[in-house]
């Protein structure tokens, strides 16, 4: 009998917590945030994300607000993670960009970026401007446009139309290829999830993936690193010009 009561209670609690629709949770979390109850806000925002069947672009504001709540609690690495995730969903979000930059000013590590060829930097910036799906659809649409122009070129009697069709189709093909390349690059990034944020306050990178490895350098919470491979609980990471092995549990992939 007592057992039954317990089960009933558990079910009741579960029911009340599941009964919250994402919209209600969102309103409640925003309320909690405005009243500086950041831990409750974090819990509610996280609940929205946990309950989501698929994370779509619509969830970008949730990550953004979650990042803010984490930041207010002083959890820098979690805040940076949330902002990064928000920007993955909506790279054009100015506020998230600003707050990420602001949060980055608070982290300890000052990573001097490796000198990247300016063109490569431009390309990366261009790539990150739009989400993968937009690039993919642009590529498809441009490809179709290219075919239409090609048909125009092939079938038009008018020299003017033929010329226009010919050049436009070439431009469309190039743009489509660029869009495809960007989409592919983003897809690759999102599928391997190589970028990660250090979540532990301080972590020493070692020369080999074991405890006895020579310690090479120290990283602090909130720093963004690139994971190259994972081997027996250690991840080979690269940050700036440094490369070393750190325990996997000190990282969280974006």
């Amino acid at each position: 009998m007592r057992r039954l009561t317990y089960i009933c209670i558990v079910l009741l609690i579960a029911a009340t917590s599941f009964a919250q629709s994402p919209t209600e949770l969102w309103a409640r979390a925003n309320q909690a945030y405005s009243e500086a109850r950041y831990d409750e806000a974090v819990a509610d925002y996280s609940a929205i994300i946990d309950a989501a069947p698929v994370i779509t672009r619509a969830y970008a504001p949730v990550y953004y607000n979650l990042g803010n709540a984490h930041f207010k609690q002083g959890e820098l690495s979690q805040a940076i993670l949330a902002y990064e995730r928000c920007l993955r969903l909506r790279p054009t979000d100015k506020n998230a960009r600003y707050n990420l930059q602001f949060a980055r000013t608070q982290i300890i590590d000052n990573i001097a970026d490796t000198q990247v060829f300016f063109l490569r930097e431009w390309i990366t910036t261009l790539r990150n401007m739009l989400p993968m799906s937009v690039w993919m659809w642009s590529s498809i649409i441009l490809f179709c446009l290219m075919l239409v122009c090609l048909l125009l070129f092939a079938f038009s009697r008018s020299i003017g139309w033929r010329k226009a069709g010919f050049y436009i189709s070439i431009i469309c093909l190039l743009c489509s290829a660029v869009a495809f390349a960007n989409a592919a690059s983003l897809h690759h990034r999102d599928s391997i999830r190589a970028e990660a944020i250090i979540t532990r306050g301080i972590v020493n990178a070692k020369a080999s993936p074991d405890r006895s490895g020579t310690e090479l350098f120290t990283l602090h919470e909130g720093t963004k690193v690139t994971i190259h491979e994972v081997l027996g609980g250690y991840a080979n990471i690269e940050v700036g010009n440094y490369n070393g092995w750190i325990p996997v549990n000190t990282l969280e992939r974006i």
């Binding site: 994402p22 069947p53 619509a58 707050n99 602001f102 092939a154 079938f155």
Partner: protein, 622 residues
């Protein structure tokens, strides 16, 4: 004569009357008794009154044995100082009483009649100490261990034994950091004549304390029962200590040098010795034991507004006004009242709104140091001058301190003030500038702080993207979206390949279009035909039309186009000679007409011929 007498009487009586009135005003009727008495020892209890009085009605002396009294005595004195006469009179009623048991008892006020009026004295509170206990040896030795005892030379057991020592008294042994501790040294004397203390005093150095010495006013001897014995006691040194660090702080022993009067030990005892005891002075070093104070550190969780205060405080705030003009001063006066480490309080910060010029606060202290600690008020005046009109909010000023009674931090706060600043002389806000005066101080936007941007409050709808939008990169759908159109296009290319081939054949196209191009030119030529002044252009158009047509139709590049190539090409296509002849004639006529107008070629004729030629050539299979 009679009148004179009255004047005399008045002059004589006036001073008396005046004095009488004066005296009636300040009757002092007081009961006096020692603060402490010992059980079984008689003491004197007196009433004094400064006027001639009668009918003293003393209360019942419960708890006290009445032994004798009242003995009445009078005394009066008159003195002239600088010609002014002052006289005093005192009547004293003395009772001899004896306490029955120990405790604290009060004696009710007495009444007395002066000039027919009744006066009431004050009540008196008397602490009755127990009798001296005959000290047993064990007790004595314990006392010796604890307190350095100086015994008089005459060694005898019992209460008569001379004893003098100094005790170290601490108001609290367990305090918080910054909480005041009263440390005092008290001398206990029994059976010894203490004359004075020399300056040869060694006090511990109160490092890790902030020290605040208390000035002892006239030292009064008090009776105190200590370890079963009654002593005359007096506080000889008293100081307030504010611990500056936490932990067990050791206070070293202190030493005092006392001068005692010691009766001379006559070598030969004579009968006079008892009457004329001669004394010599002897110095004794009295050591006060050290002590330890346990200082608890202040708990964590200091409020942001913590100003270093430990104790108990209240705060009042007064704002000079909430409605002022720009460039007129506003004063916020904070009065912090309380007891604690007043001296160490930091001035709370006032967060004046932007646009207020602020000045250093003026601090006025009014502290009093007593055995209870330091208390008093600290008044802080903040002066600020608003420079621009508008409505501003002065946020509450907070003052955090540690409450030693509650053992937790408290934050006092002033109310929030809304300031209405009206425009005043020389207001900085641009609106206040009179029209025509267009000088405005330009300022860059001042950054006051930085923070993350606020959360997104837009409505959140967890929209599920439709299946198509959620297409995976590299999925078959994606391939289909590329492949489908491609296949369709290829199909179209294959189906209409003939047309493509035709389109690709530029010469064929030209051939096909030669007629329409030539006709267009002929049309222009016809227009020009109507305007005789454009004759030259007409011929040019005719020549061009025929040449262009031949070039396109016969696929001869314009550069190679001449009579010979045209003739040979036409021959090669098996065109009859008459048509070739006509062709050549039209070309030459057009050239002649153009370059040699004198030859008299008729434009209408030429136009008709050209049109006819193109029509004929079009019919030929070329």
């Amino acid at each position: 004569m009679k009148r004179r007498f009255y004047i005399f009487l008045a002059v004589c009586l006036f001073p008396l009357l005046g004095v009488g009135i004066l005296r009636a005003e300040d009757v002092q009727f007081r009961a006096q008794a020692p603060a402490q008495v010992i059980v079984g020892r008689p003491f004197q209890f007196t009433y004094t009154v400064n006027q001639r009085a009668k009918d003293l009605r003393a209360p019942e002396f419960t708890n006290f044995d009445y032994i004798a009294g009242p003995y009445t005595s009078q005394s009066s004195s008159t003195s002239f100082v600088n010609g002014r006469r002052t006289s005093s009179f005192q009547m004293t009623f003395t009772y001899t009483l004896m306490a029955q048991k120990e405790g604290t008892f009060s004696i009710a006020p007495a009444t007395i009649t002066i000039n027919g009026e009744q006066y009431t004295s004050n009540g008196v509170k008397i602490t009755v100490l127990p009798e001296d206990q005959p000290a047993t040896n064990s007790q004595q030795s314990a006392a010796n261990n604890q307190q350095p005892t100086v015994s008089s030379q005459r060694q005898s057991t019992g209460p008569e034994q001379g004893n003098i020592f100094v005790r170290t008294l601490v108001s609290k042994t367990k305090v918080y950091e910054q909480e005041a501790v009263l440390l005092s040294y008290k001398v206990y004397v029994a059976g010894v004549d203490l004359k004075q203390f020399t300056n040869n005093t060694t006090l511990p150095d109160f490092t890790s304390f902030l020290q605040q010495k208390i000035d002892l006013q006239d030292v009064q001897l008090q009776l105190e029962n200590y370890n079963g014995r009654n002593y005359q006691t007096a506080t000889i040194y008293s100081t307030l200590l504010y611990p500056q660090k936490s932990g067990d702080i050791q206070i070293d022993p202190a030493s005092f040098e006392a001068v005692l009067l010691v009766p001379n030990q006559a070598r030969s005892r004579s009968i006079f010795d008892d009457f004329f005891n001669s004394y010599t002075t002897a110095t004794r070093t009295l050591r006060a034991p050290g002590t330890t104070i346990h200082v608890t550190p202040l708990p964590s969780g200091k409020p942001a507004s913590y100003a270093g205060g430990v104790g108990k405080f209240t705060m009042d705030a007064k704002l000079s006004g909430t409605d002022v003009k720009a460039n007129e001063a506003i004063t916020l006066t904070l009065t912090i009242r309380g007891a604690g480490n007043m001296k160490l309080l930091k001035t709370p910060a006032v967060d004046w709104p932007e646009g207020f010029e602020q000045y250093d606060p003026k601090v006025t202290n009014n502290f009093k140091t007593s055995t209870g600690g330091m208390s008093g008020t600290r008044t802080i005046e903040y002066l600020a001058i608003p420079r621009a009109a508008g409505e501003y909010i002065l946020p509450p000023v907070q003052f955090g301190y540690f409450d030693t009674e509650k053992g937790q931090y408290q934050v006092l706060s002033t109310p929030e003030y809304t300031l209405h600043i009206a425009r005043g002389a020389g207001d900085q806000s641009a609106v206040a500038q009179p029209a025509g005066v267009s000088y405005v101080n330009k300022e860059d936007i001042r950054e006051l702080g930085s923070d993350i941007r606020y959360i997104s409050a837009a409505n959140f709808v967890p929209a599920n993207d439709n299946e198509v939008m959620r297409m995976q990169f590299g999925s078959w759908q994606m391939g289909a979206l590329y492949g489908g159109p491609l296949v369709i296009a290829l199909g179209l290319f294959i189906i209409f390949r003939k047309r493509i081939r035709e389109n690709a054949d530029i010469i064929g196209v030209r051939k096909r279009q030669a007629n329409s191009v030539a006709r267009k030119r002929l049309k222009t030529a016809k227009k020009l035909l109507a305007e005789p002044q454009h004759k030259e252009q007409f011929f040019e158009e005719i020549e061009r039309a025929s040449l262009q047509y031949l070039s396109d139709r016969l696929s001869i590049p314009t550069a190679d186009l001449n009579k010979d190539t045209i003739t040979s090409t036409l021959r090669g296509k098996a065109i009859d000679d008459a048509l070739i002849e006509r062709t050549n004639r039209v070309l030459s006529d057009a050239a002649f007409a153009r370059y040699a107008p004198a030859m008299g070629v008729k434009p209408e004729e030429l136009y008709a011929q050209t049109e006819q030629l193109i029509n004929d050539l079009e019919d030929c299979k070329l």
